[in-house]
């Protein structure tokens, strides 16, 4: 047996997107866990302890930014790298989203949609070496 497979938590409210990203990553040897909203994602982080989180920004209820801010605020999960998938340009995302008046979307990486699958794999592999 080799080392255990790395766990990736994919969070997206669109089931097509969820399925697609899972299908891109799974054959490369990652274990995929999914969540359909921010709140569910927080629960899965707690129970599954993933190695990496792919977070979609546009979600109802707790969106990607808010979920990311919560993850980074908790000592339990702040070490898990977060990759945000967003439809808006990076610079806008980085500079203009305040939470409680403070700019705090401290994700490790931003990937702008449409995401190139090859690039996604490269980024994921980079964090899970």
């Amino acid at each position: 047996m080799g080392e255990p497979r790395k766990k990736v938590l994919v969070v997206d409210d669109d089931r097509d997107d969820l399925k697609m990203i899972s299908m891109i990553l799974e054959p490369e040897g990652y274990e995929i866990i999914t969540a359909e909203n921010g709140a569910e994602a927080l629960e899965k982080v707690e129970s599954e302890a993933p190695d990496l989180i792919l977070l979609d920004v546009m979600m109802p209820e707790l969106d990607g930014f808010a979920a990311c801010a919560k993850l980074k605020a908790s000592p339990h999960s702040k070490g898990i790298p977060v990759v945000l998938l967003t439809g808006v340009a990076k610079q806008i995302t980085k500079t203009r989203y305040p939470i409680d008046g403070v700019l705090r979307a401290e994700a490790e990486e931003y990937l702008e949609k449409p995401v190139d699958p090859e690039e996604l794999l490269k980024v994921v592999a980079g964090y899970l070496k």
Partner: protein, 501 residues
Amino acid sequence: MTITRKVNCWEVLSCEHGPGCPEPCPAALDVTSTGVNGGLNAGRICWTVPGTICGGELQGDFVDKQEVCLNCPFFQQVRGEEGTAFRFVKLAQGLRDAESLHARITQVESLMGIHDQLRARFNLDAVIAEITRQARLLTQAQRSLVLVLRGKPPRLHGEFMLRGNMVQVDIPVDETSAVGYAALRNKVVNVKDAYRAAAADDDAPFNRTFDDACECRTDSLLAVPVCDSDNRVLGVITAANSAKGSFSQDDQWFMERYAVEVALALEKARLLQEAVAAGRMASISESLASLSHFLKDVAHALMGSSYIIRRGIERGRMDDIKSAWEILDRHVKRLAQLCKDVLTYDPERPDEICPGDLNETVAEAVSLLQEEARTRAIKLGTDLGPGLAQWRHSKRGIYQCVVNLVVNAFDACLPGGGHVTVTTERCGEDAAIRVADDGRGMDEETREQVLEVFRTGDKTRGSGIGLPTVVDVMERCGGRLEIESEPGKGSTFSILLPESP
């Protein structure tokens, strides 16, 4: 039987220039007017007397002082007391009979009526048509026409009925015609005997082209420029062929008042057009934002699924290929539908009111504004209730309403951010869409002003806050708006849509 003595102007206005005073006013001396409106001398028809000394100030002639007189409380008092017997002008002032006197009174009323019409619901064509009709009746003219400056270089354009056919005229702004001259010089032109004046090569710039083209003969013509508040000429109002022979100073004065009403109508139309254009621009930029988001979504799915298919073929993973193919197929169809929507999209075409998922419409509008909410640190949420899947509504209209109300709610939020929530629910016979914010809120007066926009349908007011669109849509859908608000506690705008508009 009670006999009430009728008071004269000098008694009501406590004037020191009444009859018997050291410096009597001309109204107090005009014995020929005794009995008119029941007064002594011109005591109850003082507005027609030149050079009166009202309030110690020497007044001008009939034309000069009309504006002051029409607003004078004494004038209003006499008019009220005399009712239908009221005489606005004396017979001796050149008007032939009592009938035309009554016509005059009616015209004063009509001026006031037009003014009221301008303040309420608005339709430029209807107002202009009414003004020209009144102007024609008033001056006893056979024809009357409003010509509006348009194009570059500007020319005077107008439309009128000639022997049952709509005729369009287009006249250059120059000195070759009376109306062109009036527009060019910003001057009233009163041509008394057109053909003789033209033959005598008089100053009056009468031009026979119009008559030749329309197969008519204009003997007298009155052309009054229509100016905006900065005294720029917007057009010309004309009357042709007076039944009296020619147009009098009175006619001219009234036409100038009508010209002011025309100017107000044109100005109002312009403001309205600007508001509509602004609304359209806003909806175009909204569409672009939502289109770009949609395309990113579709491209994301296409790139992902085609990668999976390619890799599936390389590695022989048939299940992956099948799943990805389904996703690819769905998004290609979405893209095809979008192309169809774009091609058939016509902003001029009225949106159909038909049964559909009201929540879906509301959710689409809200999702468009999520990005904007984020940049403003506002939490935008929805709470969509059941029982609205087949609600009759105008999709585009409700979409626009929600966008407008949500943007207003954003604006009402304090600079540090806030919460905006859009909810839908069944509310008795209606479906309710509520947009609530926890922003500044409105006081009673502001709330009333906003509701007033709805009651009067006056779309020129409050155009800065997108309400005209909402007014329009509510008119089409037979819906209504309710507002709850308190200063410091935020506002809730509710749209109530009946099931069968």
